[in-house]
Symmetry: C3
């Protein structure tokens, strides 16, 4: 500690002062206390930044999760394509969010609609934002883009992908997050003047801001592109096009679970905050509680899906369970910090049903989403927003959002204002994302930049666009290159599944 030196108390000096000169003694003592106070401030910065940075790293690890979830859920012939898009989400997102995304989202002072300071991290760090905040928010922004990529997998031109991903990370998502998370946002619970029903929206870690945005963008993309070839046959009977590797799906799911511990508890940004009640109960407890509610919601959703799908399809299916789990997480994300653990169990249970229902609807309307991203993040995300308005407890809302008049959950006796605000959130997000991303996808479609040709789709994008397949388990260098090879490869395929 560099500043230790400033805290040396001189015995001689103080004793001389204490005797004759009360004023000097007082000044001396108070000086010491001021130095102590400064050291506490420094310590708190160190603790909070450590906490936030490691949370950001966890959230970043979700990008590995998305990549593997997507890769495992598509067919082998499109694996290179989908993984490339996930890598570029992070990379392009890094540049665009640095250049203007963060400024649109949090650059204050600003109006309620969009931020306009701190482009390219100008004037950062400031008293309210440090580099760690940027890194954390960047990891969130690329998660939203990662969600969308799943919906339009296996049939989208790579250029279209680059365009929508930049637009989403650089503009659409930042604007939405400005509304609900910036202190200037028109619907933010941090806003201290006259705002939405005197309530503002409690979307703690982003069921609406992240998951609904990503899911709805994906919904429009998938809708405009139409289903993959072979997904619905002529009689409209559906044929599941199974992903090529359940191992990658499970790997991705666990990494997302791991990363969600950065996503939800990390959204406190600070851990070193004492609550008025003092002693052992402080923001660290709330952080822990958030991790617990997150866990319980996901676990419940997974189990509900397990049994629900077993009843519906007769199988114990691991990829369905994984999706159910993630649906539970997406739902609890809005309210994770302000609900009791038992309420999280309810949240997960309903989220699973919402997901199953959305999938049935999608099936019925011939909507094809290779990762169920719109259903999962859009549907369960919307449920999460509603859930928060029903179950947010007064005590926790007061602790987490101390600066505002408390509006809490309808079922907890808090009245309907929060619910009204949350319904507005859903409507507004749906409207804005549809107006921007829907239009973008439509324009791309009209320009013939959106969907690949039928030939490419049948052959797979990897051989046509990405230089070859992702896997070569048997290679031919030096080994039987003749007729037998043909046969060998023939026997290789699991003849049908």
């Amino acid at each position: 500690m560099a500043a230790t030196a400033s805290m040396t108390c001189s015995l001689d000096q103080l004793s001389q002062l204490l005797g004759p000169n009360a004023t000097a003694a007082a000044a001396y003592i108070c000086d010491q206390f001021a130095s102590v106070s400064n050291k506490f401030t420094d310590t708190a910065y160190a603790v909070d930044n450590t906490y936030l940075l490691f949370s950001a790293y966890l959230v970043f690890s979700m990008q590995l999760g998305f990549a593997m979830l997507c890769a495992g859920s598509v067919r082998a012939k499109n694996t290179m394509n989908i993984m490339l898009t996930n890598v570029l989400d992070a990379a392009a997102g890094g540049l665009f969010y640095y250049l203007f995304g963060f400024a649109f989202a949090f650059g204050g002072p600003s109006n309620g609609f969009i931020g306009r300071q701190n482009f390219a991290l100008e004037s950062i760090p400031s008293s309210s934002f440090d580099y760690s905040n940027f890194l954390y928010q960047w990891a969130f922004a690329i998660a939203a883009a990662g969600i969308t990529s799943g919906s339009i997998a296996e049939r989208t031109q790579f250029v279209a992908y680059l365009i929508y991903s930049s637009f989403l990370t650089g503009f659409v998502y930042p604007v939405v997050s400005h509304w609900f998370w910036s202190a200037d946002g028109w619907a933010s619970a941090f806003r201290t003047d006259d705002f939405l029903f005197g309530s503002g929206v409690i979307d703690f870690a982003g069921s609406g801001v992240v998951h609904m945005v990503g899911g709805l963008a994906g919904f429009w993309g998938a809708l405009i592109e139409g289903p993959r070839i072979g997904r619905f046959d002529h009689s409209s009977k559906q044929t599941p096009l199974r992903g090529h590797s359940a191992s990658l799906v499970v790997l991705g799911t666990f990494m997302l679970w791991f990363g969600w511990y950065g996503f939800n508890p990390g959204s406190f940004n600070k851990i070193s905050v004492a609550y008025a009640s003092g002693s052992y109960y402080g923001q660290w407890s709330a952080v822990g509680r958030t991790a617990v509610t997150t866990t319980l919601a996901g676990c419940t959703a997974a189990l509900t899906t397990l049994f629900g799908k077993r009843i519906l399809s007769g199988h114990w299916n691991v990829t369905d369970v994984c999706n159910g789990l993630l649906g539970g997480f997406a739902a609890i994300t809005a309210g994770c910090s302000v609900v009791e653990p038992w309420a999280a169990v309810i949240c997960g249970f309903v989220a699973s049903l919402v997901l199953i229902g959305c999938n049935m609807l999608a099936e019925k309307f011939g909507y094809d989403d290779p990762l169920e991203a719109a259903q999962l993040h859009g549907g369960c995300g919307a449920w999460g927003v509603i859930f928060t308005a029903l179950f947010a407890s007064e005590k926790y809302v007061k602790e987490v959002y101390p600066s505002r008049p408390v509006q809490y959950g309808l079922f907890m006796g808090g009245g309907g204002r929060l619910l009204a605000a949350h319904i507005i959130q859903i409507v507004v997000i749906a409207g804005f994302v549809s107006a921007t991303m829907g239009t973008l996808f439509y324009a791309l479609s009209k320009l013939k930049l959106l969907r690949i040709s039928a030939d490419d789709e049948m052959a797979g994008m990897d051989p046509t666009r990405h230089g070859g397949f992702a896997y070569i388990y048997h290679e031919g260098d030096g080994l039987d290159k003749n007729g037998i090879q043909m046969m060998k490869i023939g026997g290789d395929a699991p003849s049908s599944v």
Copy 2:
């Protein structure tokens, strides 16, 4: 930080002059506020530390899933991965509802906890949410161990039943005995008269976690019998290799990564000064770092020993064997990681590797089939770890880590045999209790014909019969033709270009 000091010099100077009492009150008020701030800061640091450790321990679940998936045949991959996902999920609910209460709900008797069901009255002064999360991650690790032993031949329903029972009851009770302040054999028990005046030093759970998981697996695998084809008619063993060494290596590295939460994280707090050294560089943070170092060294030594040992025995340099050796070293050091010197950890890892090789030979001899060697690895090496701790625990570290008890330390370090006696009792008691509960459970399931799948299902693979299809579809059949046309399809199908 709330409650920062604001010291008013004017005010204080008026007080200092005429009114000593008020001045003193004022100054002491400031110091109280300082002290409160330190308490809050320590909570913030310790919870940050514990929560991130818990996340690391959770990441071991990914490790178990990949290790298991890679070690079974492709036709059972969906099954084993599903069980690993559900370990975590059912574990989450059951441990929340009553597991945690059985384990740590105090005040209670020495056998089982009886408070804090569904996290009632949490957070309290001794337990915060982060403690629950950390312990939950441990509980699901135990269930994950067992799933490996009975892989590839167990009915899914049996799996759900034993997993709930293990996470919800068996493991919590054992952890209560050894880790709760009320446990009858806990080194944290301060009620004077307990096990040889010593209690058991099972710091992060070679016995409590690994032996419990391993012995449960042993009974399951024993009652089910070996997989079809594992031993031929003449009784010779035929290895049924797992389908992907890459997944095994991913799993091993994730487990290694997670073990840094498992062992060093078991301190629960890092912001603790040791009594004789305030403001000094040596404190619990050094203990935490030392624990990470002993863990690393034990695993590394075990891996190298296994490498050369297996090379001598089988003639191959085998990566999956090395991975298992590595994990055996970790399982063994887990009990003593915080109370032994780094050089002792090397001995621990060396012996652990030999124990594992020996157990595997025994298993082969007795036709015991354990697809992941889980019983040998976690049971055998875990038991060695418990003994090892009783031999090599140093006085100094035991005093620091368990300050509230009369220190009993390692036999070889001059500490006498009381700790060893207590640890032998631990092994016996865990073996007995887990056999009585889990052994009985597996036996009942067996009698009810709920345990093992049919021979046909086993030959075909569980994925296709129970889980809706294989895990892998590398060649895409959406135009799918199954017969003679298949040939044709493949001729012009998207097989990978041989060289590009």
Copy 3:
């Protein structure tokens, strides 16, 4: 928290009245205790920070293993993964026994450390166990880099030898020069007269780690020559593609994840106030955050540049190339990550990508075969990173990060050429030393016929000849042969041995 303040107002008021000396003693005693508490708290925070950073750096080993595994052909997967596991394991033992002592054991001369063998006298006031763990994770990263260059054609014994030598001697010596307080070229060296009054600013090791690993790999690959089939008779290059892009992407993301421990973690401490701003929001925590941001931006820029660059050159959007570009950006920013502005990191990444593409063209031209492009990536981009730092280091940040030395900063930022001169010397010295040691070692192994495997082994794959079988068994044939054709296929194809 130990040593909490308990201030007694009664006592103090009695003292305040008549006895000024005693009152002063009392008050100062309280402040001393406060100061001690702050010291302890800072140790707790810093060790938490450093340990979790070390865990992240360790997770890069998983990244290397998967990157390597995915980039080689399926027939050599077991081999390369085993080498990666053993990097970590042998590295753990050798670095514990003497590597750490060579690197950081002080007081010592400028060339090599000579204390703290086997962690003797650790923890001390300057080094705790967490520092050892962190440095170990760095050492094994260097060995991991080299393994990629010589993949698919190196004898396993040669691998064990060079890996021990690199982790136990070569890397520790180089890190002593540039990172130890005693090193002859270290920016932490305070003995006045050193390299151009500047020392080298290689914050997290573009030179010390990446160039060392890359140049060692260069010599190994050069002496071994290209893999069979890599260049045809007319000298045209034929890419031997890796067998799994999924594993490459897993590996890349894990490396990215781990790099957040590698670069920001190299501060070692986060709880440091900058001199002129106690109680202010700007401190070392901001420096740590900025380092994470520069790291991110350099990698992202390099990835995008590579994407479009390769698209122009080859016509494909290639994910493995993008992954390599990304890693090249990280390797380059590693030296200067803490002392440059975020906008400079974008320049760094842009140029790094061009350097990598250029190096790959050179390699192609000179028929140099490096399965993972490790020499190009870590050697080439690492060298660029060292130069970049000497050009763009800002005065303010250099002062903050290296407070004890006269600040020499970047040429383009107005700091003059002394830093650049020192950095050019660093490149020359590292190249020379690594060539002299590792180049000689590889040459001797080559002469002893211990380096390269036989042509037959190389054609068949090392897994089947040395490591007990292939990594993958997707079709399990212990029961199921489906028809005549299938039979035939299995007889003459390189399918995994049915049972081993």
